[in-house]
Amino acid sequence: MTNLAVLMMLLIIPGSSWPGNPSAGLIKTETAYLHTDRNFYITGDNLYYKLYLKSDCPDSSRFAYFIIRDEKSEIISHSRLEVIDGVSYGSIKLADTLKTGFYQIVCFTNFMRNRPGTIFRKEIIIANRFDDDVSYFLEKDRQSSGVNISSKVSKPGSLNLKILTDKSIYERREEIAFTVEPGELPVNEISSLSISVSQVIDYSLPVLSITDSFSNDTEGQSQTNSNGPGITYEMESGASVIEGTVSEIPGTAKTGISFSSLPESHTIFLSAVDTVPNLQYTTTDSSGKFCIYLNPWYEGKEIYLKLRSKANVQINLDSKYAIQEPFQLTRDFNTHYVREFIKRAVKTGQVARYYGSEAKPDTIETFYSNHLPPAVYSKTYAVIYPSDYIELNDFLELSREIIPGLRIRKNNGSYSASFPSLQYEIVSDEEPLIFLDGVPVDNVDQIIELGSKDIGYIETVPNVRYFNGLYFNGILNVASKKDAIKNISFSQPFRQTQTDESISFTKPKHFNPADLPSHYPDLRYVLFWEPEFKPHGSKMDFTVWSSDIQGDYVINVQGITRSGLPVAGSATIIVKAK
């Protein structure tokens, strides 16, 4: 009895180690840090980045999302990044049409959206090279942004990497040698480093390093989940996720309580236009939510999501790029420096573009899906080519004359199809599953007007098909000659959306002074960018070349150890004329 009382007490005492207790370590978190080659860009430049992802989960996210948005919180660029061994790197081309101003990089995984506070944000300045009007920044000067620097920008954490340069002031076009020393850490312990040497606009304020970012987890963890529709965003450790809800169309909700108004589970089909009839499906839970781990074959394709059966509902898809928090500067910039810098950068940018001396990114690794489609059937059944026969005007005639085993009947003004040879039907009163160009349609009514001249071939599967837990009373596949699926208007709820595809790993070629003609100006703001440096041996020595642009440059090194500890270091050098 005493034992039972103690057990009861343990269950009641708040903070005890019950499975759902956050303090018990069951709540998992992910933290991202993005190292960019610089903080200032001219339109048309490539923005180079390196992403570090720290995860408490054994299987961390495979994908991260990268957004650049303007001050009106409008997204100007978004991409999906492939995370391998906790890192990802690449480049984003900044469009020539962007206006001069502040922009924000937002980087996160789908799982991090559960705690918006953990989402990584960083401001950059983008200047349009055809626009040297800096009145925008004068306006900004008048407006007090109200950012409390001490609260928003963390003080630099322990920079555990030492950067030793051979001197502190360099001439233009001079060799700069520096060494990264890991301090107390053995060099072999460092798994990956990213190194940038670039000019700084505003070096008076500390830049958030990976050590600060990865130690500031508590801020993000304390934030509550502010998901609008109550979706718990899934971890994309293996495959990309499509989430959403099926809800009643506003204004059609039933009033009162009846058994018929109890939550109904809906089956959602997912497919893409292809010659192979393809299908993935999921079902909604009691609250109408659904989640599909996408077959990699669908990546980068336009997909159709539709309900299997007719219902007075709508499909709402979750957009991973919809950030609820509006744009807000996380740090103040010294606008005087910014204005002066922009005036000069716009001019140098125009000249640099004229000489075309910017290094193009080299593709290191691409992530094209080589998966097979989730084919509903793979056996070869009867294939009918209407062009082999006399021309027939519509599908009703085709079914009567040249499609064996298929029967189409007209009833109350609508058509229905069936395979009469089926002796056993699992789902009674249901038509065969009809695919048009690889996508399931609602019923035969939608293809009834297609005649011989519209159809390439027809395949029939006149048996009860099993597919991942679903049964179909036969399958009819129609491949049109001119993407007839695009002219179909679905009567059942459906959505069309474009799926994401990971962008390639890229990095620029390292600058070699011999490659630049001697009469060309060297107008590089970034002297060095190496996103994926893996230390070998005991020393990490680097040699870079200063450009013709004078000013203050910062050597910024960020990285991670094999055990997941962040490492960072920075040093400032000056480049000036004799």
């Binding site: 559960n114 718990t232 993935q280 839970d285 509903v376 056996k379 098909r465 099993y466 991942n468």
Partner: protein, 222 residues
Amino acid sequence: MPLPGQVSQNEFARVQQVRYQNVAGELYTGDLQPDTYVNPDWIEGDLLLETGDKISNVFLRYNGLTDELFWREPVLNNVIKLDKESVRGFHFNYFRGDSSVSFTRMKIRKDFVSDSTLCFLQEIDFNKIKLFIYHTKFFLRKENYSVNGKISIRDIYIEQPVYFIRHDSRLSVFKKFNGHTLCKAYPDKSDLIRRYIRNSASGRLKTHNEIISILQYLDDWF
């Protein structure tokens, strides 16, 4: 609402769905005549799908006459004739006294006339060589039998396995597996083969175990 990071309410349901991803086949309502099957009874095993997914602890039957794989799907207990294209292989947990028997899908020519087709072959991996056994069955004759005084006719099928040995990406076919055919396929090992057969207890190569034993012995010499 679950706390962020916790397993959501619908997690279990979705896991169940994912479990049966990419299995395709057709509902089979025909007669499952036991004589034609390599395993007359349902055997528990694993199904390896073309997508790389694995479905564990499912009931399978393999028909050697038609080279078809049947799966008893667990929800409605229906028999599904699986599409060979969606299955890369399967594994029986216990088959003919062996606790681990794997079948793999391969493209082979069943006879001189037909084109090569996808078939399931038992795979035995030695160190340097691999043995594949195609457990094909043939109709032998019809036979009268009596049950409670009633005479009926039944078909008699026999198993005529075809052996394939892969060594250094070379595949040798043995419709009849004996010392002579083995020496012909590997002439440089003929002395070893003859010596092994001479010294073996039965002095022949007839049973599966005898074939496996000699290949195990030869594997050391390859």
